[in-house]
Structures are given as structure tokens and as C-alpha cells.
């Protein structure tokens, strides 16, 4: 086991920002809008760094795919404790069409190249909400996966992963190398302290192109339109259950 953990981090619009749809309906406004690391990716980085601090892993590599600004996100990961970063340069039209399929191909290629023992990603990104990248990466690598992890521990040459599923909690044991996706309660990410941000400046970020990894980026999806959800209509208060039933019947719901 190489003891290398590959962590995928995505640069998304900050969760506190009020999203505005572009007038031409091709997407949301991103220019001049505050961006930060996807919250689930922060949890993934935190878990990876903790594994290294417990000496269960040796090196944490943070990866991000996108334009130049992604380096800021990688630097945040470095400030949290990742050892080095890899920036996969994707820009323009390619970036607009970048989805879980393309990213997972990149992650799979990097996992093989870096001989990673473990790939950790957030369960989903707060912009796409796809919840596919981790799973696809595992499938492409033919590695076991522990998704929606709320607890991860090393068990011999494998991992014990506690998963949050609809019915409750499920424990699985998977052999390494494996892919894990981080859920909300996995951990509480540390604050990047200012001295660590300073130290992170000295850590390396390597740049690489998808073509170098043998990955082609054509998308199988075409976005037709992006629109605001319909305005919520105000409700009606009724006095009794009888009234409620009548109203429901009238509206055709019953």
C-alpha cells in the first residue's frame, strides 16, 4: 500500500451567496460572485488529513479540475494540511461541459498514475448535486466504494465505512484501494489558520492537462435551459378538516 490519498476538491459558488440565473437561461451568474471549496470536499480533505495525522496514510494529494482560479481551492486544501496539489487545467467550453463522467475519468487516471490507496471525494457538489463522481470513479477503477460515509476507520488492509442510508446506518468493510465519498457528519473540518496558509505557499501544485492523462472530455449531456423555480404560491388557511377535504376535492387532488 502506497499510503497515498487522492482528494478531489471542487470550486463552487459559496453556499451563503444568493444565486441568480443568467438572463439568457444558459446558467447561473458566476462573474464577480464569491466562490469557495464545496463543503463536502472540505470534509473529505479533513478526513484525509486526519488519516495522515494518525499515520494510517502517508501523503494527501488535493486535486481540482478547472480554470486558473481552482488553484485557490487547492491552496485552501494545502492550508488544511494536504501535502501537495494537482491542478487539472480545463477551461472555456470544456469547463462548462465538465460533469461527473469527465471528472471521474480524470480522477481514475490520476489514481492509477499516483498509485493511490484511497480516493476520497465529497458525496456531491452543492452546485450540480449530481452525487455521481465518487461512484463513477470507483466503477472505472473497478475499486470498492464506501459512499455517504459518516465514519471511516482502517481495518487491516481494508476500511470499515459507516454509511448513512435512508433506513439508518449501514456498516461495510471494503478492501483497499477504494473510493470513499464524505457525508455531512463524517467530521468537522478545521479552520485554515493563517500560519498554515503561509506554509501552504511553499507546497507544490503541479499542472496537468486532461489530454496528458489520456482523458477526452466530450460531454454526453446538453443543457437546454436553466430557470428559476416557479414562485411559491401562498397557501390558504381552512377552519376544519371538513373544509380541507372539500378544498382538496375541488382542486382535483382528491
Amino acid at each position: 500500500m502506497s499510503g497515498r490519498v487522492l482528494v478531489g476538491v471542487k470550486r463552487v459558488i459559496d453556499y451563503a451567496v444568493k444565486i441568480r440565473v443568467k438572463p439568457d437561461k444558459t446558467g447561473v451568474v458566476t462573474d464577480g460572485v464569491k466562490h469557495s471549496m464545496n463543503p463536502f470536499c472540505e470534509i473529505a480533505v479533513e478526513e484525509a488529513v486526519r488519516l495522515r495525522e494518525k499515520k494510517l496514510m502517508k501523503e494527501v494529494i488535493a486535486v481540482s479540475c478547472g480554470p486558473q482560479q481552482c488553484q485557490e481551492t487547492i491552496r485552501t486544501a494545502l492550508a488544511m494540511g494536504a501535502d501537495r496539489g494537482i491542478h487539472v487545467e480545463v477551461s472555456g467550453k470544456d469547463y462548462e461541459n465538465l460533469g461527473p463522467l469527465q471528472v471521474s475519468k480524470i480522477m481514475a487516471a490520476l489514481a492509477k498514475k499516483e498509485e493511490a490507496s484511497l480516493v476520497i471525494v465529497g458525496k456531491q457538489a452543492i452546485d450540480g448535486d449530481c452525487n455521481q463522481t465518487g461512484q463513477m470513479t470507483a466503477a472505472l477503477l473497478d475499486w470498492p466504494q464506501g459512499t455517504f460515509a459518516s465514519e471511516v476507520s482502517v481495518d487491516g488492509d481494508g476500511l470499515k465505512v459507516e454509511r448513512e442510508i435512508d433506513g439508518g446506518l449501514e456498516s461495510v468493510r471494503i478492501k483497499m484501494p477504494a473510493v470513499v465519498t464524505a457525508d455531512l457528519r463524517l467530521n468537522e473540518p478545521r479552520y485554515a489558520t493563517l500560519p498554515n496558509i503561509m506554509k501552504a505557499k511553499k507546497k507544490k501544485i503541479a499542472s496537468v492537462k486532461p489530454a496528458d492523462l489520456g482523458v477526452e472530455l466530450t460531454s454526453r449531456l446538453e443543457i437546454l435551459a436553466v430557470e428559476d423555480p416557479p414562485q411559491r404560491q401562498s397557501g390558504v388557511k381552512v377552519e376544519s378538516v371538513q373544509d380541507l377535504v372539500t378544498k382538496l376535492r375541488d382542486s382535483g387532488t382528491l
Binding site: 469557495s36 485557490e72 491552496r75 485552501t76 492550508a79 479552520y191 485554515a192 489558520t193 493563517l194 500560519p195 496558509i197 503561509m198 505557499k201
Partner: protein
């Protein structure tokens, strides 16, 4: 005689009247012009900061007028405006000092610091407990917030002044109590070590101070020594062997007094003058460790605001301070104190610009959502005026803070007038803005939960500490007069050799003649200010010309006694503040327009509106000073005060007779 020979205009003759009183026979130039009852005045602070000898009297005598001419070529805008001149070097274009790496680094720091203050720090809890919560203190230390400007090789972040300002702005926006805890520690507490410490002192103390393992405090104020810092009574006597000092005395209202390990203490040291053998008491700065023994502190003071910040008495009982712990030179302590305070002032303006931003958001949020009389209240003119003025004041404060920090980063040595102006303006603007925010929010604003009353209470001290605004106003005015006086002295000197200085003199005559005739002296900001702001630029030019003229007239009228004319000094100072405010917004708005910022048009309106009102204020004040009724006004004010003081309270008997 000389006058008639060379045919000078009567305008210039008044300049000669200055000659006998000011040049003085035995007593020399700068310092004596402004001593009052033999005790150094606010201008001594100016000199201390300008790196001249603090006491001045013996040494300044030697300085020739030639040396003084180099002082005349100051790049500071404020220094020059008192002479009716415009020096654009430090103010146009709006300085941008950070390189790409520094900008990138700073942008990475802003996020985590903001997040910490939004999620971890609880200002209400800190205020309630009257201390910074333990967890928060730990978090701040881990975050590196205690050593922002300590060089990185000694364990700090090595931030420039501009970077420091940006982070302090975030602290100011959220919790001024924490802001003072941090500021008392690094902005003044151990700043002396950064500015005046030798290598050994820096290496010994800075690493632990940077991580917050040890906390620092600045100990100057005593029960009988507040504004009059030179009158402190704490004493440090050097041992016979010379290896240590014995320090005794009591300091009051020391921020971090109850927490600190390392104290920068100012004490009077008896010093034997080498030439005269006379023993004089001069102030020396010391680095005192609590561990030296004899250092005790009192319980935390109960305050109106910044309750989370620890304020306590600190007593020194025959504390042995090694010779190596003298900070700067023995006897050079006043200069150390003034430089420390001067150096940290921009931080206050930065923090308060953040505070104002925060409260303005709250007020605007309320105004945009509150409906009364069938309308959202932000549609009513009264509210609109409040919001607009708040926005302008914040814009001015922010512009001052970042211009000064940039000037300091650029290596400017002369910024003490500007720094003082920024402290006065920021503290008063923040008070007014927060007051108006509470007003906009009505009853809600008065409630604890809204969070505004705490900010209001926290803000009150900012007009008092680190140099009360009243003293700083005198400082600004006297410092300005001093420089204007030097110019007149230079003029006098030139008059002694009119042929050799004919060109210079001709210019000076024509300038004054034009001024007397109400014409512009040819100053212009054309080409400096963005063309869209040309009109406002003109207002500034007119105001400076008027200001310079009045300054000169007042100086000629009062001479040395200008020091006593505090009514005049205050008004001159207010105008000086308005002038500097005008120039900073002109510079900033010009830059935004040149760079085509999306907010540039809004900034243009802010700038124009500010300049219109400031110009009018200045012109009115200057007119009032020149009018004969002002003298009567001051006399009346003085008479009222004397009577009330004599009576121990209001004099007029009750309207009801009992």
C-alpha cells in the same frame, strides 16, 4: 528701509513683522515656538515622530536655516496644505502597494478570518462575560491573529500595514472588544519592540508574542498623566553598577493589564547632561517582564464598552529591569511612545471602517423591509439623507485608512498629521454612523438583540484613547502651523538677501497679492484628478488656497501665542480634516473611474457630494476665523466657561427662583 528699496508690496511687509518674535535671539526655531510654560506641547509629539531630538532646546539651536529648507520639501499632503500648497506625491494616484503575491496571499487570509468571526467568535457572549471566551482566545492564537506583523522568521505572519489593515477591518466589523485585545497586544503593546528593539530583544520576545503564548500591554497612562504624557511620575533609577534599573510606579487603564506577561513601560529616568552636568528627568521606555517580580495588577475595570477587553491598573514595586531591556535610547522614551502611537493609528481607521460597514448593512436591511405610512421607509427623504451620509462617512474613512497604510508601506516617513486626522475622523464618523443606524432602526435599534447598542458602547472609547480627539486636533493644527511657520521663516531668510532670491520672492509676492485680490494662485489639480471630477477638484483647490491664506494670517496675527488660541486651532484642525477627506475621496474616485469599476459612477457621486459639503464647511470656518465677530465669540465662550467653573456648575438661577 529694505522694503522701500526693493519696492515690495505691503502684503509682504506683514511677513517681516514675524521676524523679531519668532526667530528669537537665544531661543531657537522649532521647539521653542511651541512650548507652553516650558513644558513640551503637542508639537513636541510631532517632532518626536519626525525623528528629531525630543527635548529640542539645546540641540535645535545649532540647526541652520539651510537644514530647514529641506524640511520645507516634505511630501506629505497635510504638511503642504497648511502652506496653501498641493503636494500630490503621496495622494495621487490612489496608492496601490501590494504586488501580485501579496494580494494573492491577503485574499487567502480574508476568508478564514471572516469565517472565524462569523462562526466562532460570539461578541454578545464576550460582552456579557466581560472577557473573550476561552475557546475564542485559543482559536485566535491558533489562527495566528496575535502576530500579524511579526516577521515570519520570528513566528509571525509578516504582514505589511495594508494587509494588516484589511484583516483588522474584519475584526472591527464583528467585535471591537476582541479588536482592542488584539490591538493593545500588537498595535501598541509590543510595537515598540518591532520599531525600536535591537536584534536580541526581538529574538527573545517576539516569537512567544507572535503565537500569543505571552500577551503584551502598553503602559503609559497614570492617574495624573493622561493627555499630558510627558508628566508621568513612574520612576526608573539606574543602579550604580549601571547594569539594571529599579522601576516603581503605578499605571492605570492598561488594556490587557491583567493578562500581559510583557509590558512596554514608560518611566522617568534621571539623566546627567554630559555638557552641563545638570540632572534632568527624561522618559525612557522599558520592556518589563511580569516575571521580573514586583509587577501586580488590579481587578478588571467595569467599563461602558469594549467589556471583553481586560482593562486594569498595573503596579510596579521596585522592579529590577536589566539594562538590556531599555527600548530605544535611555532618555528617548517620549519619542518611542509617540512613534508607537503614531504607527498604530491607521489600524483604528481600518477597523472602524469595517465597523461602519457592518452597522450600515443592518440599518439598510431594516430600511428596505420596514413599511410605515404605506411605504418602505427607505423611500422617505429623511432616511435617504441618513443612509447617504453614513455611506459617505464610511467611504472617507476607508479611503483614509488604506491611503495611509499604503503610504506607510511605500516608506513615507511623514504621515503623522494624516494618521492623526484619520483617527479623529474615523472615531467620530463611526459614532455618528452607528447612532444614525440605531435611529433608523427605531426602537429595535435600542434593543440588545439587535447588536447595535453594544457597538455604540464599544465605540465611545475610540474618541478618547490613543490620544483624545481634542489633543489630536491641537496636534494637527500646531504641527501644521509649525510647518507653515517654517515656510515663513524661509521667506524671512530670503528677504535678507532679496537680490539672490528675487525669483522666489517674486513668486511669493504675487501669490499673496492674488490671494488678497481673491484670485486663484494658479494651483490646479487639472490632469491629476479624473476629468469627470474636475469640478470637485476645483473646490479642493479653492479650499486649500483659502485655508493656506488663513493659516498664514492667523500665524502672523498671533505669532507664538497661537499655541494658546485653542478656539482657532480647533477650527483650523476641522478644516484640515475636511481637506484631507476631500483629497482622499478625489483620489479614490478618480482611480475607480480610470479603472472603469462598475461602482465608479456611484463613487463619483459620493465624492462630489462630500466635496461640496466639505468645501462649504471649510469656507465658512475660515471666514468665521477672519471675521471680527469670531474674537468676540471666543471671548464669550471663555467667559461662560470661567463663570460656570467658578460656580461649580450652571450659574443662572432657576427660572422658578428655587
Amino acid at each position: 528701509m529694505l522694503l522701500r528699496k526693493v519696492g515690495f508690496s505691503p502684503v509682504l511687509s506683514t511677513a517681516l513683522r514675524l521676524a523679531p518674535s519668532a526667530s528669537g535671539s537665544a531661543r531657537p526655531a522649532e521647539s521653542s515656538l511651541f512650548t507652553y510654560n516650558g513644558r513640551p506641547y503637542a508639537s513636541q509629539a510631532a517632532e518626536a515622530v519626525l525623528d528629531k531630538h525630543a527635548t529640542g532646546s539645546e540641540t535645535a539651536a545649532k540647526t541652520s536655516t539651510d537644514k530647514k529648507t529641506s524640511d520645507l520639501e516634505s511630501k506629505s499632503f497635510a504638511v503642504n496644505m497648511f502652506k496653501g500648497q498641493i503636494s500630490t506625491a503621496q495622494v495621487f494616484p490612489f496608492p496601490s502597494v501590494m504586488n501580485e503575491e501579496q494580494t494573492q496571499f491577503l485574499s487567502e487570509l480574508v476568508g478564514p478570518v471572516a469565517k472565524f468571526f462569523e462562526t466562532v467568535n460570539d461578541p454578545m457572549k464576550n460582552d456579557e462575560l466581560e472577557k473573550v471566551e476561552d475557546g475564542t482566545m485559543e482559536g485566535l492564537k491558533e489562527m495566528g491573529a496575535f502576530g500579524l506583523q511579526v516577521p515570519s522568521h520570528l513566528g509571525g505572519l509578516g504582514l505589511t500595514n495594508t494587509q494588516y489593515a484589511r484583516l483588522v477591518e474584519i475584526v472591527g466589523m464583528h467585535d471591537l472588544g476582541v479588536g482592542i485585545t488584539l490591538g493593545a497586544h500588537q498595535s501598541i503593546g509590543f510595537k515598540g519592540i518591532l520599531l525600536f528593539g535591537n536584534k536580541q530583544q526581538k529574538e527573545k520576545y517576539l516569537p512567544k508574542l507572535a503565537t500569543g503564548e505571552t500577551i503584551a500591554a502598553f503602559c503609559l497612562t497614570e492617574p495624573s498623566s493622561g493627555s499630558d504624557a510627558a508628566s508621568i511620575k513612574t520612576v526608573a533609577v539606574q543602579s550604580d553598577c549601571g547594569q539594571y534599573f529599579t522601576l516603581s510606579g503605578g499605571k492605570i487603564w492598561i488594556s490587557n493589564g491583567g493578562l500581559a506577561e510583557i509590558f512596554t513601560v514608560f518611566a522617568k529616568t534621571p539623566i546627567k547632561d554630559k555638557t552641563t552636568g545638570e540632572v534632568k528627568d527624561k522618559i525612557t521606555a522599558f520592556i518589563v517582564e511580569r516575571g521580573f517580580g514586583g509587577v501586580t495588577h488590579g481587578p478588571p475595570e467595569k467599563k461602558m464598552g469594549i467589556k471583553a477587553s481586560n482593562t486594569a491598573e498595573v503596579h510596579f514595586d521596585a522592579v529590577r529591569v536589566p539594562l538590556e531591556n531599555v527600548l530605544g535610547e535611555v532618555g528617548g522614551g517620549f519619542k518611542v511612545a509617540m512613534n508607537i502611537l503614531n504607527n498604530g493609528r491607521f489600524g483604528m481607521a481600518a477597523a472602524l471602517s469595517g465597523t461602519m460597514k457592518g452597522v450600515i448593512s443592518k440599518a439598510v436591511d431594516h430600511a428596505a423591509n420596514r413599511t410605515q405610512f404605506g411605504n418602505k421607509i427607505h423611500n422617505f427623504g429623511v432616511i435617504q439623507e441618513k443612509v447617504a451620509r453614513m455611506a459617505m462617512m464610511q467611504y472617507v474613512t476607508e479611503s483614509m485608512a488604506y491611503m495611509i497604510s499604503a503610504n506607510m508601506d511605500m516608506g513615507a516617513s511623514e504621515f503623522q498629521i494624516e494618521a492623526a486626522i484619520s483617527k479623529i475622523f474615523a472615531s467620530e464618523a463611526a459614532w455618528t454612523v452607528t447612532d444614525e443606524c440605531i435611529q433608523i432602526m427605531g426602537g429595535m435599534g435600542f434593543m440588545k438583540d439587535a447588536g447595535l447598542e453594544r457597538v455604540m458602547r464599544d465605540l465611545r472609547i475610540f474618541r478618547i484613547f490613543e490620544g483624545t480627539n481634542d489633543i489630536l486636533r491641537l496636534f494637527v493644527a500646531l504641527n501644521g502651523f509649525q510647518n507653515a511657520g517654517k515656510q515663513l521663516k524661509g521667506l524671512q531668510h530670503a528677504l535678507k538677501n532679496p537680490i539672490g532670491n528675487a525669483g522666489f520672492l517674486a513668486g511669493e509676492i504675487s501669490k499673496r497679492a492674488k490671494r488678497k485680490a481673491g484670485l486663484s494662485s494658479g494651483l490646479s489639480l487639472h490632469g491629476t484628478v479624473h476629468p469627470e471630477l474636475a469640478e470637485s477638484g476645483e473646490l479642493l483647490v479653492k479650499a486649500i488656497e483659502q485655508f493656506g491664506g488663513v493659516v498664514e494670517d492667523q500665524l502672523l496675527k498671533h505669532g507664538k501665542k497661537i499655541v494658546d488660541e485653542q478656539f482657532v486651532l480647533k477650527r483650523v484642525s476641522d478644516s484640515a480634516i475636511d481637506l484631507y477627506a476631500m483629497v482622499v475621496v478625489l483620489s479614490r474616485a478618480s482611480r475607480s473611474l480610470s479603472q472603469g469599476h462598475s461602482s465608479a459612477q456611484h463613487e463619483k457621486v459620493l465624492c462630489e457630494t462630500w466635496c461640496l459639503e466639505a468645501h462649504d464647511r471649510i469656507m465658512n470656518d475660515m471666514k468665521a476665523l477672519q471675521s471680527s465677530s469670531s474674537k468676540r465669540l471666543f471671548k464669550n465662550l471663555r467667559a461662560i466657561s470661567t463663570a460656570v467653573v467658578e460656580n461649580g456648575g450652571v450659574v443662572s438661577p432657576h427660572p422658578l427662583g428655587f
